[in-house]
Each structure stands twice: as C-alpha cells, then as structure tokens.
C-alpha cells in the first residue's frame, strides 16, 4: 500500500467528502487560496472556490457561532483553527450552544460540525501555540473527540466525522503531521469508541495518547529485548472512550500506565484510572500509574520546553517501575 503523511491523509478525507457532499464548507484563517498554514486545505480552493473554502476575519467566537447556525440549517461546516489554542475564544459557543442544541431540540436539529486544529508541545511554539485541551471537551456531554496518532486513523476518523451528525473535535498533534504510514486510496470510515491494540504483551498495559503513541512503541521495542512484553493501546477517540479494550488488557496484564503529554489533574489518565478502578479493581496487581506533562503553561526556550514533556527516559522509567511494583 502507498505511504502518505498524516496531513495528506486527513486532506484526502476532506477532499473526498467535499466532492461527495456539496454542503461541506471550511472556515479558517488562510485556508482559502493559501491552502492552510499546515497545508490542511492545499489545492482545495481551486476546486471548490471561496464559498466552500472561506477565509475569515480573526474572530473565532464569531465564525464558530456562525458555523453553528449553518450546521443547524443543512450545511456541514469544518472549522480549521490552525492552532487549537485559538478555540478558547469560542468556548461559549461550543459549550453552551454547539454541544447542547441537539439535546435542547430533542434531536430535531443536527449539529454536523468538525472542529480541527493542531495540538501539542514542540518547536518552541510557546504557550499560546502548544495547548491540547481535550479533557475539557471530554468532560462536556455532546462532543465527540478524535485524537489520531497515525495517517490511517487520521483519514478514517475524519471521514467518519464528515459523515455523522455530531460536533467532532479532530485534534492533530503537530509532531505527527509529517509522519508517514500506509493509507488506502479509497474512502473508509473508522468507528468512534474503538481503541487499537498496537502491540500485544503480558507484562503491563500502556495506554498512550497522540504523540505518546510512537514514543511508547519505540521504547517498548527496546524493552522487548530485555524480555519485557508490553501491551500498547491507542484509544484513538476519547469521546467515546473504549474502556472495554483497556479493561480486557488489564485483566491480562494486571498493570496499567496512561501516558499523555497534557496535564494530569482531571485529565484523561485520571478518568481511565477511575473507570478501571471501578470496573477492574480485582484485576490490578499494582497501583495504576500516570505519566503526564508538567502542570504548567508551556515555556519557549528549548531547555525549558523539553523539561515539561515526558521524555524517553521518563517513559522508560515509568514502565520499568510499573512492572517492578
């Protein structure tokens, strides 16, 4: 199978669905003729024109609220935030309107909307261009949250988002954008709420999110040389979250680490840990462990930036400690 990048895979999903569905339009800053700061819409303006590739003023609250009205009346907006930190200006529209209107209208109004943007720490982007924020959206009823870690998942999860009725956060870690992987040329959908077991093992389970997935997989290959077989799970979507796959794995391994670059308090690791404690307590042979980025705004200088993310040594130590418990 041919190999393409994460960005190319997501763009292919968007291109295919825009060709099939004339109600899809994209809004954002520089997503028109320019093709997006991260090439998310490269080449689409020439095909679909300004009504469907709509460059906007820098008014995140305004165009997100506008897209809500469009989604309620037959269109299918894709909001391209470029950097997901910019979503914060639109939180009122998202949390009070977009997540609630299907419910408030007792299911008679649909809210088909994709909210995409780059997340994550890297490249000395500093604290207004390094956020992730997904736990905020997982907390709120009414959002789907997709967190693909590879090109295959990016295309399939985005295709599903572009064909469903719900508001979907589609979050792209900036350090994953140029990673290559095998991707079918035809359109396909991946279900939400179905984790992928990327590596089978018996010594411990590691649930890894986004950029932590390739980091953890590489470390586990090293640990295997020492005879440690680690099972690695990528949830792929956080809302809904596939706890069944995680619980099944913990039943086998008895040990669980959740590796997530973003903050620990009230985070995804805390949620997974609570659910495993509630539903799989008897399967545990050791306390559940979490590995998170530092609970701090993201600093600029490379030495400081590297200090707030879990590095290879920290991940390796966390896994070895868990197995030794």
């Amino acid at each position: 199978m041919r190999e393409i990048t994460f960005t190319e895979a997501a763009r292919e999903a968007l291109t295919e669905q825009m060709a099939l569905d004339p109600s899809i339009f994209v809004v954002g800053e520089g997503i028109g003729e320019r093709g997006g700061n991260f090439n998310t819409t490269l080449g689409l303006y020439e095909k679909y024109g300004p009504m469907r590739l709509r460059d906007t003023p820098i008014v995140e609250r305004g165009f997100v609220g506008m897209c809500a009205g469009a989604a309620m009346t037959g269109a299918r907006p894709v909001v391209d935030f470029m950097i997901v930190d910019f979503i914060l200006d639109s939180m009122g529209e998202l949390l009070n309107q977009i997540s609630k209107i299907q419910y408030m209208s007792s299911g008679r109004i649909k809210m088909p909307m994709v909210l995409r943007g780059c997340i994550g720490i890297g490249g000395a982007a500093a604290t207004h261009h390094s956020g992730s924020y997904y736990p905020l959206f997982v907390h709120i009823p009414g959002f789907r949250v997709a967190l693909p870690s590879n090109p295959y998942d990016a295309k399939g999860l985005l295709t599903t988002a572009l064909t469903g009725d719900n508001p979907v956060l589609f979050l792209e870690h900036k350090l994953l954008l140029n990673r290559r992987g095998s991707v079918p040329e035809e359109a396909y959908k991946l279900p939400y709420g179905q984790a992928a077991v990327l590596r089978e093992g018996s010594a411990a389970t590691v649930v890894a999110l986004a950029v932590m997935v390739p980091k953890v997989l590489q470390i586990c290959d090293e640990l295997a040389k020492d005879g440690l077989d680690i099972e690695v799970i990528d949830p792929r979507t956080l809302a809904p979250l596939d706890t069944t796959t995680i619980l099944e794995s913990v039943r086998k391994t008895g040990r669980l680490l959740i590796a997530d670059e973003t903050f620990g308090p009230c985070g995804i690791g805390a949620e997974i840990s609570a659910q495993v404690m509630e539903q799989g307590f008897d399967d545990l042979d050791a306390p559940i462990a979490r590995l998170n980025g530092a609970h701090t705004p993201t600093p600029y200088s490379p030495t400081l930036e590297n200090a707030v993310i879990p590095d290879q040594a920290a991940i390796t130590k966390a896994i070895r400690d868990l197995v030794a418990e």
Binding site: P22, S23, F25, M51, R52, R54, T56, P57, V59, R61, G62, F63, V64, G65, M66, C67, A68, G69, A70, A71, M72, T73, G74, A75, P77, G92, E93, N96, Q97, I101, Q102, Y103, M104, S105, S106, G107, R108, I109, K110, M111, P112, P141, G142, R144, T160, A161, T163, G164, D165, N166, V168, Y192
Partner: protein, 329 residues
C-alpha cells in the same frame, strides 16, 4: 400613526392584531400560571413588545428561520408555534415544543423554522448569520432572522456577526429590540451610540432603519423590505426597533430601582396593541365588534392551551439523557 401608504388588506391588518393579542393573552396567562407555581422555572415575558415579532414574522415563510432570545415567547408564537406547545413547554410537560428539555428560554420548533430561543445573549446573531451562510451556500432563497435586545449590541457577537453577514452578503435580517434595559442596566449607560441602525450603516455598510417598535405597521414595512432584499440576494439588513418591556425582566423579580413609574406610565400609553386597535377602527378596517370577536377567539385559544399544558404528562424520567448525540461518529 403615519401609515397612509399601507399595502396590506384588512385581513392582513387584522391578522397582525390577532397575533399581538394572542401573544399578550398567552403571556398574561403564563405569568399567572408562574405565580401559581405551575411554571417551575424562569419566565421572561414580551408584554409591550408584541408589534415586533408580529410585524417581522408576518413577512416570513414557514421555511425561513428565526433565532431568538430569552424573551422569545412572542417570536415562537409569531413563527407559528401553537400556544399549546409553548404553554406545555413552560409547564415542563412532554407535549411542550422542546419536550420538556427547554422551558421558557429554550423553545424549539425547527420543523417550522423556530431554531431556538436562548438563555445566552449574543449567539442568536451568530447563528442567524450562519443560517444565512447555509442558504447562500446551498443556493436556497430562504432567509434568516436574528432577534436580539439592546443588551447584545455591545457584545462582541454583534460586531462579529454583522461584519461577517455584511462582507459575505448573507440573507439575514438582524432585528434589534431595544427595550432600553439589558436586564436592569440602561442602554444609555452601556453605549455612546444608542442609534443601532447608525452603527450598522457606519460600521458595516449595511442597510439599516430605525423604527418605532410599538408601531406594528412600521415594523412590518421595514421587515418586508429587508426580507425582500435578502431573498433577492441583496444581503443583510438591520431593523432597530425602539420599544419597552412592560413587565419585570423575569416574572417574580423586583422591578424597581432602575426605571421610574412615570417612564413606565408613558410607555403604557403607547401600548402597541391599543394603538393598532385604534388605527384599525379609525382607518375603517374594523369595527369595535370585530376586535372584540378576535379577543374572544384568542381567549378561548389560550384557555385551551393552559388547560392542555395542565393536563399533559410530565416527561418520562428515563429519557433525561436522550438526544445528546445524533447518528454516526
């Protein structure tokens, strides 16, 4: 009233009267029900402002859409939601227009273009613009109406929404209901420019007109022009309606300390329903007996609505978490 050039026939003129009386009587009964404890949550009435909803919505088709505010009973009724469905919703009943999930502030009837009333000030402007975007994208001749109060005018949503509607020529009618107070904060204390139409013209180069919001014919005429402009692809308009809220911000709230008895009395004398009634008779479109007959018919409709609401079942508790998600994804 200076309405020598009225293009409406007697039937249409009486329909405007009928709608205003329907809104007034429904809300009077809902306020009474609220006092009796039959409306469990908040209830923001539109008493005194009926000419705006009636005058605007009379120009809309069923497939045109309306985005409304926390003071939205009048918009819902004028868009065609039945008094039964509105009353039952405020009573928290399964037969309400939002099936008991919304109450006074969240009325929904998308099948006839009521896209929701909202407890948050500002989003109606943005969503109204978005529906306009949708209609333009899909090459539909539907139009979108965003109602909002003077309280929204200093909010960022006003600037962002009007600006986008203007630059993209969206088929949207922005209707500002300036009732002089945002809850209890006077508009004169919230802005240096109370002429909202001027703001629309100067800031966004948008067609805009300022009208007496208590004159149903003036509102109707302004809306007729704005709807025609939007439907013909001529872009958005703003109608700045000056009006007054006759009752407290919400039922049961103390209404003193921010406006005077003299001011309230002066506006009471400009009641939009009484003014239209007097004009109808003076202009020879109706006799007092015709208006009495409308009144009697409305009273009967509203009595039926309240009885329907009272007799309807509450929603099944097991459905409390239904409808959070649609299909797919």
């Amino acid at each position: 009233m200076a309405n020598e050039d009225i293009a409406l026939n007697s039937e249409q003129l009486l329909a405007l009267y009928h709608m205003m009386v329907l809104i007034r009587r429904t809300e009077e009964q809902l306020a009474r029900a609220h006092q009796m404890g039959l409306v469990p949550g908040p209830c923001h009435t539109y008493v005194g402002e009926e000419a705006i909803a009636a005058g605007v919505c009379a120009n809309l088709r069923e497939d045109d859409v309306v985005f409304s505010t926390h003071r939205g009973h009048g918009h819902a009724l004028a868009k065609g939601v039945s008094p039964r469905a509105v009353a039952a919703e405020l009573f928290g009943k399964a037969t309400g227009c939002s099936q008991g999930r919304g109450g006074s502030m969240h009325l929904f009837a998308p099948e006839i273009g009521l896209m929701g009333t909202s407890g948050i000030v500002g989003p109606s402007i943005l969503q109204g613009a978005g529906a306009g975007y949708s209609f333009k994208l899909l090459a539909s001749d539907q139009v979108s109406v965003a109602f909002f109060g003077d309280g929204a005018v200093s909010n960022g949503a006003f600037h962002e929404g009007l600006n986008m509607a203007a630059i993209w020529d969206l088929p949207v009618i922005f209707v500002c209901e300036d009732n002089m107070y945002a809850t209890e904060v006077a508009f004169r204390d919230a802005t240096r420019v109370q002429d909202v139409a001027q703001r629309a013209r100067v800031s966004y180069d948008m067609a805009a007109v300022r009208v007496d919001g208590n004159d149903v014919l003036a509102v109707h005429r302004a809306a007729e022009e704005a709807v025609a402009r939007a439907r013909a692809g001529g872009g958005p308009s703003l109608i700045d309606c000056k009006t007054y809220r006759a009752r407290p911000h919400a039922e049961g709230m103390r209404d003193g300390g921010y406006r005077s008895a003299e001011e309230m009395q002066a506006w009471k004398e400009r009641d939009p329903i009484a003014a239209h009634a007097a004009w109808l008779i003076e202009a020879g479109h109706a006799e007092a007996a015709d208006l009495d007959a409308i009144e009697a018919q409305v009273n009967s409709t509203v009595d039926d609505a309240i009885e329907f609401a009272r007799a309807s079942p509450f929603p099944d508790p097991s459905t409390a978490a239904d409808f959070i998600f649609g299909a797919g994804g």
